[in-house]
């Protein structure tokens, strides 16, 4: 069974159909990179998958469990209550602009949800937090506040915060595009190390070399559809559609 399956997803904002008809599957341990021009619907796709947006049609399933229930008119509605909580526990999301909690220390950013949404004890949560911060190269910073960190450090804290809840799949929406170029590599390095540990990840990115290196599967989105997909070798090395060719060429 796929860890994540998206079936015939459609999503409009008013008259603008942003996701036209997208189906995809993500297997356990897979790293999927989503590339495509600005406005093609990449963020919207992630926001639908993480239930930050409602959807107009289709279904999203985590481990075969549907995150939406379709009513008589065929309109999908988010599941609620305990079901919603369970589905949410399957995924994490790393935002482009981090969205750390500025009033919490680094350690509290990472552990607060563990303590207050998963009822872990403070000791247990801090153990998890310390391990993750060490892994992110931030063990010195546990008592710092987000404003005292560089963008790259803040993004690593937000990755630790997402990992603390032990999600089965982690989504990234352009995790480095709010960063100065010299800070990008430290974040990409962390994501690469997660890929080595077979963390399942879906990453929207404009970093083509990174996508090529880290992904098992690349999806090229254009105007709300998947215009092309395949292994990095296929999509980057031998793209079939002209749109893909033109897009990739624009990055060299």
């Amino acid at each position: 069974m796929s860890l994540l399956e998206i079936r015939q997803l459609k999503k409009s904002f008013g008259d603008l159909q942003v996701i036209k008809n997208i189906s995809l599957k993500v297997q356990q341990g897979e790293v999927v990179a989503i590339i495509g021009p600005s406005g093609s619907g990449k963020s919207t796709l992630l926001r639908c998958a993480t239930m930050l947006e409602s959807i107009d049609a289709g279904d999203i399933l985590y481990l075969g469990e549907s995150a939406f229930k379709t009513d008589q008119e065929g309109k999908p509605h988010k599941v609620t209550g305990a079901e919603l909580k369970k589905i949410r526990s399957y995924f994490g999301l790393v935002f482009q602009d981090f969205n750390l909690f500025p009033h919490f220390s680094v350690m509290k950013n990472v552990t607060d949800a563990l303590i207050h949404t998963q009822n872990k004890s403070k000791e247990e949560a801090y153990d998890i937090g310390r391990k993750l911060l060490t892994k992110m190269g931030l063990s010195e910073k546990e008592n710092a506040f987000p404003f005292q960190l560089s963008g790259g450090q803040q993004q690593r804290v937000s990755i630790a915060r997402a990992l603390a809840l032990n999600p089965k799949v982690l989504f990234f929406d352009e995790p480095t595009s709010a960063l100065d170029p010299e800070l990008t590599s430290e974040v990409l390095k962390v994501i690469k190390s997660l890929a080595k540990e077979h963390m399942t990840m879906v990453i929207v990115t404009h970093e083509m070399n990174f996508a090529k290196e880290v992904a098992n599967h690349v999806i090229f989105m254009d105007e709300g559809i998947i215009a092309e997909e395949g292994t990095p070798e296929e999509v980057f090395g031998n793209p079939k559609s002209d749109r893909t060719k033109a897009f990739i060429k624009g990055y060299h």
């Binding site: 993480t50 930050l52 909580k85 949410r88 526990s89 995924f91 994490g92 999301l93 935002f95 602009d97 969205n99 750390l100 909690f101 500025p102 009033h103 607060d112 949800a113 207050h116 949404t117 998963q118 506040f145 987000p146 404003f147 915060r161 997402a162 809840l165």
Partner: protein, 216 residues
């Protein structure tokens, strides 16, 4: 009359002033938050009702509102209120009035929060309540403290308005003593009292503001 007698005459009034101040804050700060939530409600009836309420409270003199609360039950409803109602009327009037001002301050603070904070909390599994009280409100309070300070300082001076329904707070007493003795001293003492009171309030608020300034 020597200073000591004067002060002891005024001290009862001082205590009443401080009571009005403290009770108003204790009631209007939470009430203001509830009013703010009503003002931002998705329900248009509630939202507009609260909007009108706020507009009346801010658009008419507090002095007039105190009189309505005090005389209203008798003149409008024909109810004769118990003797101690005078003081309660002041507290009710002040609390309702200040809640409206605080509500708009809360609303400004809450609306200034980025959606990213809500979305991050949602993804991390916080409930709506937890998001509001753990993530949103602590940041809102930090942002609105300077505006709250302004209102609190105004409140210290506004307590003197209770004289319109003859509640014997500081200013009422000072006026009575001054006219009985044809002497300015009580007014001077009252002025000193309000100034010192406000000085203490401003110092406390500054302490709170500094305490909350550990992050940016």
């Amino acid at each position: 009359m020597d200073l000591l007698t004067l002060l002891s005459n005024l001290s009862d009034g001082m205590i009443v002033s401080i009571q009005i101040f403290a009770l108003t804050l204790v009631l209007s700060l939470p009430l203001g938050l509830i009013v703010a939530l009503g003002r931002m409600s998705k329900n248009p009836i509630l939202r507009n009702f609260v909007k009108v309420y706020i507009s009346f409270m801010r658009g008419t003199p507090l002095m007039l509102q105190l009189m309505v609360v005090y005389f209203g039950p008798y003149y409008i409803l024909g109810l004769s209120m118990p003797r101690g109602y005078r003081f309660y009327a002041v507290i009710i009037g002040f609390a309702l009035n200040y809640a409206a001002y605080f509500a708009e301050i809360y609303r400004g603070g809450i609306e200034s929060m980025s959606v990213g904070q809500y979305e991050a909390a949602k993804i991390l599994g916080y409930s709506k309540m937890q998001t509001f009280f753990r993530i949103i409100m602590p940041q809102v309070i930090r942002r609105i403290i300077p505006s709250i300070t302004n209102e609190v300082i105004t409140l210290v001076k506004d307590t003197s308005l209770a004289y319109v329904i003859s509640v014997t707070e500081m200013f009422t007493v000072a006026r009575a003593v001054a006219s009985a003795q044809a002497n300015m001293m009580p007014y001077v003492a009252a002025g000193v009292f309000y100034y010192v009171f406000n000085f203490v309030v401003a110092t406390v608020m500054e302490k709170i503001e500094n305490k909350l300034s550990y992050y940016r």
